[in-house]
């Protein structure tokens, strides 16, 4: 998995995630995101447009990043999730926690 983070200011971090988030990459993904939170990106938006596959390990990592962001006084939102990732969220009902926004702009709007 490849993660690129941009910080437009105000504690917001936009992470563009590319590739599969699965058993092989979940730990690295979570580590990168935790570093980003530690660097001050407490209000995260994860752009999942380029994620090709999300498995249960990746889902667990998303939950872990959400917890870390909230513990730091921030939050985490996901945007642009493809159909496969949305199916995983819906099958687990975790779309109630990780609300999938259609676009990064929509996810950012709620941060003010």
């Amino acid at each position: 998995v490849d993660v690129t983070i941009s910080s437009p200011g105000g504690g917001v971090g936009i992470a563009t995630v590319t590739g599969r988030v699965d058993l092989l990459s979940a730990a690295e993904f979570k580590s990168r995101m935790t570093e980003a939170i530690d660097d001050g990106n407490k209000r995260l938006v994860l752009d999942l447009t380029k994620v090709t596959f999300l498995d249960s390990s990746g889902l667990g990592a998303l939950i872990g990043v959400l917890k870390a962001a909230r513990q730091a006084g921030g939050d985490m939102r996901i945007a642009g999730a493809g159909e496969q990732a949305r199916i995983v969220l819906e099958l687990t009902t975790l779309d109630r926690v990780l609300t999938p926004y259609d676009t990064v702009d929509e996810a950012l709007a709620g941060y003010g």
Partner: protein, 167 residues
Amino acid sequence: MAELSGTLAEERLRVAAVPAALDEFHAALDRFWAAAARSSPPTPEEAWRHEFATAVIEIGTNIVSHSRSAERSPALVVFRLRLYADRVEACLLDRGIPFVEPPDHGSGWSGLAVDDVASLPEGGYGLPIARAALDGLRYRRSFHGTNFWHLVKRRPPAEHSTRTEAG
């Protein structure tokens, strides 16, 4: 042969149960869907294929994560996908250690405290995802020490009835 047995598309793979096998599983699924696209009737919509593929990868991941051979490491996985007129099936066989399901698995999502994010588990979603995505998921261990996983997903009823009427 495939027509005689009712199989519309098939893909087989034999690979060591190491993490890199996941790449092989994904590639096999891609080849399978490409072959299935040339079959008649065509495979159902993308969401249906995603659900099946997600379940297959979850079981494959489970084998890769937990399977190790009592005699040699790593164990081998035999992976087979088959498309029929009314369903798609996957069989995954390995000769690793027996699978033992954790006691809290299989209870569904009713107990998931989504209002309390701090309490949400960060693991253990794999088998429940597979169960939710499929119409059938069976595991058994043979006397000879083979783990056998059988996954079934039926085609949507309307499509199947159309096929039956046409046939």
